[in-house]
Symmetry: C2
Subunit: 162 residues, 2 copies
Amino acid sequence: MKNTGLKFPAVLLAFLFHITVNAQTMSTKEDQNRAAIFPKGDKAPAEYFSGTAWVKTLVANDDTLTTIISNVVFEPGARNNWHTHPAGQILICTEGTGYYQEKGKPIQILHASDVVRILPGVEHWHGASPTSRFTHIAINVNTEKGVVNWLHPVTDEEYNKK
Amino acid sequence: MKNTGLKFPAVLLAFLFHITVNAQTMSTKEDQNRAAIFPKGDKAPAEYFSGTAWVKTLVANDDTLTTIISNVVFEPGARNNWHTHPAGQILICTEGTGYYQEKGKPIQILHASDVVRILPGVEHWHGASPTSRFTHIAINVNTEKGVVNWLHPVTDEEYNKK
């Protein structure tokens, strides 16, 4: 029984270490899943996206609501091509750190809760920052006027001009 | 030193209890804040809502995008009046358990990731379940055709007919 005093702190430390490690794992997982309200959906087409992005259609187009809503997840470094929307688009940012740029203007940094109003015909692109995943809900309004006109990819030089 | 063997388990138990309690507190807090992407906003008008709800305008109306977007948080038991939207509305559920009912149909239960397409002129109401907070993003499209026509409150009898 002489060593009992040493044995218990060792057990205690092992328990605490185990619990701390588990808590950290859980916390990281929680952070990653915090805004994962929707399933990832399908891989975004390489024709219009650089890097890996995922698109989940939430509302498909129709003649009554004339609105398309998609949840888009960009892996770090991923972005879409330069493009325009004939009737405009609204982005609601829900997770991570993103980039948004309109032609001739500096890149804007986006975070959860940021909302971007993209006016009709404005050339722009959006995507994740180089080190963080980024998720937004994209709302195409008044689709009877058109949805999107895709242009050329955002070059690494344009993307890294930060 | 004779009692050391008893003292350490007591310390260990106390630690474990402390850690367990803290972990539970954190977990509950995480759950509550999981989808709190937006600040709560302003209290919804008692004229059109029963119970406590909060409205944060994300996109105000304008002639270009003709769209209004709001984040609405309903405390447990809160709901809006029966109403119609001349041009329709889309609900994107982000947190908690909610209710949605169209006139003459049973109440539908809503959870995070559910999307509701409300067609123009359809009489309906939405809100939280009796025991859970509920949050959705509400998107009013084609606002040039009108936004909302408020009707009478949802009675307790209607609300509890589940």
